[in-house]
Symmetry: C3
Subunit: 135 residues, 3 copies
């Protein structure tokens, strides 16, 4: 069992690709687990080709779960950490907290168009920790 | 490979924390898998500090997927098991059926604010089974 | 660590059951990981009894994320691969790219009503690849 910690510095909501740093670390055969130690960001495997996909994903989730300043979200009560906080928790429920990826001969079995992303749901800059375990 | 079964008795929709019983069981190093053997409840890692977060999560999902008695859900056909049944299946698709958490030196690598919950989507009391495997 | 590749041919949006071919392959004890190598379809564990559940799941997600020809989706920009393409990516973010299922004595620890499905989000026929790893 091989383990490490990846750190990602975020500067507002959106997708931050980590495919390459993960690819450089994996070796041998087994299942890679990536686990993010936070409740207001997510991990996501998504298309890595057209950056518009990332823009659209961010836009979809911003509409599905708008800030608590939006009248449609007035029923939410956990608002004292900012209008992006409770929506961040909701998005973190809708999107993965962990990913599992088969590794074969030292390479992740990702499809051609699959990249690995940290999806940040908070506006303020954050340092995010991802625990990786392979075995 | 070490395995056990956790049981949770639920009394209506909402989040039931299981962090402590899981923490008491894990040991050594490896990836913990928790798997819930049902299609109308979920597992979830979420903030364990402010109970309002749980209230708001429950409220968000109740609005995203209202009971089939709500006119907006009249297109649903699987309604004979009660107005909370098909919404429960939909929530069980949107939320995790399993969790994977790295365990290092006998402790789960959870972040400071992360707790482990069973998220019940049915109104009637239920006995829920969660298979745990660590290795 | 035992690994294989399952292939599923799809003919439009909907759920395609793969429980039996997976059950025939698993053996021994461990955690089974199923990983789909695409960003426009998903894996899902759902009720295997009443086919109306599958119809309703498909209907719910079609309403939550309609085609880009729907006026409510006019804010999306990644549209040149067809009206079902960006919605497929969004559904692939909302639904699992991988599943983890405990295997005990050669049998998956699924509940009575749990089946394993590939959830296709594209209209055109596709050949989908699922990497399986057990260990």
């Amino acid at each position: 069992m091989k383990t490490t910690l990846f750190e990602v510095s975020t500067r507002g909501q959106g997708l931050y690709e980590i495919t390459h740093q993960v690819a450089d670390w994996v070796a041998g055969d087994g299942v890679l687990t990536l686990f993010v130690r936070h409740t207001s960001c997510s991990l996501l495997i998504q298309e890595n080709a057209d950056p518009e996909v990332q823009t659209d994903l961010k836009a979809f989730f911003a509409r599905l779960v708008p800030p608590t300043t939006d009248p449609s979200m007035s029923y939410l009560t956990h608002t004292y950490e900012g209008p992006d906080d409770m929506p961040a928790h909701i998005k973190a429920a809708l999107l993965p907290v962990s990913l599992q990826i088969p590794v074969i001969d030292g390479r992740m079995a990702l499809g051609t168009w699959q990249g690995i992303y940290l999806f940040e749901h908070r506006d303020a800059p954050k340092r995010r920790e991802i625990v990786a375990m392979l075995g």
